[in-house]
Amino acid sequence: MAKQEMKTKAENFFSGLSPYEIRRKLYNLFFKNRKPKRTLKQKTKTTIFIWTMLALPLLNLLVFWVYVNIDSILMAFQNVDYANGGVEYWTLDNFKEIHRMFTEKTPGYDMIRYGINTMIYWMIGTLWSIPHSILLTYVFHKKLRGTKFFRVVLYLPSIICAVVLVGIFEAFISAKGVLGTLMTEVFGASRVPAWFQEAEYANPMLFLYSFFFGFAGHYILFSGAMAKISKEVQEAAVLDGVNMWQELWSIYIPLMWPTISMTIVTSFAGIFGATGCILLLTPNVTETFTFGYWIYDQVRRYQSYYIPSALGLLFTLVAYPLCLLVRRLVTSFYQDVE
């Protein structure tokens, strides 16, 4: 009987523990909860282990982040004298050139237009996408009919290669596609525009593409945040008799606020970075360019480093304080929510 009792006690003592936990527990039992003492040699070995493991990521950080960013700042104040064998020299001309590009009409550049396009993309990705993603997350959470199906379809555009998606979309709306055929044969249109080649249509179609495939762009992130809200809080709200809007506004949004505010701050951090699908759809229609795409295009096509670096630096100088300001602002909401 006593033997059986001891066996049960031992089983209870170790039940549900991993082998490592058992060893640790036994160690504590015999050595009175002392942490295992480590010799200097062992500590040195641990230090060597830590820095060996961190060496490659650290080297990568130093070369491909620290060096690259320092160089990009330096390049903003440099240019090349091709007449004298490509010697780099220090100058402020890059900033003067940027000022000229913004203030004077230059053939081939329309920085104001690029700025407007950039802002439109940003608004689609932020002002449109964040609120409707919250609403969609809420209705899915409340088990809208067909939620499982919609979740899979919503997920598709984000896993399919943009080249494929763009190619199919372009064909779908072309003269020989579904939209083109409907326009000519059902609605009697005399011609179907070459949507992405004609400057008049290119921009609206690009925005439409971003709008359409950016549908519920933040849904995945928000659904994770909403799933973490405790059932007890939700039950309490329902028992209090709140309606849908009260529930969303007073319970869900405050409790999801860390995720929402992070998304808002991140979107402000990327305010000048939108490139849309310009490279795939309208690489030669300059009216559709954004600041982000212009920098990419200058580097890829012309290996032009200096003015894009200067423009990038200016954007960083604007976006960084803006980000901090937005962060301070958004974190001031719902501070007392736990």
């Binding site: 991993s18 490592y20 060893r23 160690y27 295992p36 480590r38 062992q42 230090t47 282990f49 493991m53 961190l54 490659l56 990521p57 990568n60 491909f64 982040w65 690259v68 960013n69 990009s72 390049m75 609403l135 809208l144 979740r151 899979v152 997920y155 598709l156 896993i159 399919i160 290669c161 080249v163 494929v164 190619g167 979309f169 372009e170 779908f172 020989k176 596609g177 579904v178 080649q197 359409f212 549908f215 799933a227 973490k228 039950e235 329902v238 028992l239 849908m244 995720t259 951090a269 305010i271 490279l279 200058q298 580097v299 894009p308 670096s309 423009l311 990038g312 954007f315 960083t316 960084y320």
Partner: protein, 292 residues
């Protein structure tokens, strides 16, 4: 349990019902358009180009399915003298290598920061936080200059630039390994094991799920990436680059059925990952990013 479900799923007011119906309709229309697009493209894979141009909305002739379009697509997918198989090989090592290195390195950095106290830890940790919040726009020219300066473009050595480790993703693995008791590691010491043994017998097995999920997500992102190969891999093109060239070409000399076939082939690995790992991928993401 039944009672709880009832409490949460309360009766909706008329206004709420109307809102749910409208949302359902909008989503249904959106889904139908998206699925129609894919089905239409899939349908046209099996047509000749002439049939496609003549009747783009007609179903393919079942007696004459054009399987040759796949062969044509493989022949047509070409970039700078590199054919389909070359590009597939480049995609596999570049994408697989990048995904593996990045996922492994964020696991390593997350594990080290969560499990150890060491000199310089605070500084490095704050550096990661700084990297996360500072918006940098002008780094592309410097990065491009560096990659070409080092001569690692069009080379497997390019992978060294992809190691990463100190990024926003590290915070996710850090959060995960923070939840692993340090006592486990100490138990390995008691057994006479080293830190490396602790990492391979505790860190890696426990972080296996996060490593796999992060690898898969990274694989999908890198497989679909065409902008980076366009900058650095013009002489070792990937499949997405070949498809991009094909997509630009069909605007002028259209052979859409062959293009759709090529698109289907390029999509296949991602679709297979999605089919076999959908629950894992979606589950990981829906739970608020990655989790262990």
């Amino acid at each position: 349990m039944r009672k709880k479900r009832d409490v949460l799923e309360r009766r909706r007011t008329i206004g709420e019902r109307i809102f749910f119906i409208i949302t359902f309709l909008v989503l249904a229309i959106w889904s139908i358009i998206v699925l129609c697009m894919f089905l239409w493209a899939l349908m046209n894979v099996f047509k000749t180009n002439i049939d496609y141009l003549r009747e783009p909305l007609a179903l393919p002739k079942l007696s004459d399915l054009q399987w040759e379009n796949f062969k044509l697509a493989i022949d047509k997918l070409e970039y700078n003298g590199h054919g389909f198989w070359d590009m597939l090989f480049n995609s596999v090592w570049l994408v697989g290598g990048t995904a593996l290195l990045q996922s492994f390195s964020v696991c390593v950095t997350g594990y080290i920061f969560a499990q150890y106290e060491f000199k310089g830890r605070e500084f490095l940790f704050k550096t990661v936080l700084f990297i996360m919040i500072i918006p940098i726009y002008g780094a592309l020219p410097a990065s491009y200059k560096l990659i070409y300066g080092l001569g690692i473009n069009d080379s497997p050595l390019y992978l060294i630039s992809q190691i990463g480790g100190f990024s926003a993703n590290m915070m996710i693995t850090y959060g995960f390994f923070k939840g692993v008791p340090r006592a486990y590691r100490e138990a390995v010491y008691i057994d006479g094991g080293s830190d490396f043994k602790a990492f391979t017998t505790i860190g890696l097995p426990m972080g296996k799920n996060i490593l796999i999920a992060y690898f898969l997500l990274n694989f999908i992102t890198q497989w679909n990436n065409y902008e980076t190969p366009l900058l650095y891999f013009n002489n070792m093109p990937t499949l997405s680059l070949g498809l991009h060239a094909f997509q630009q070409e069909i605007q002028y000399a259209a052979n859409y059925p062959a293009y759709f076939a090529g698109a289907l082939i390029a999509m296949l690995p991602i679709l297979l990952i999605f089919i076999f790992f959908a629950d894992k991928l979606m589950g990981q993401m829906y739970s608020g990013g990655l989790k262990g």
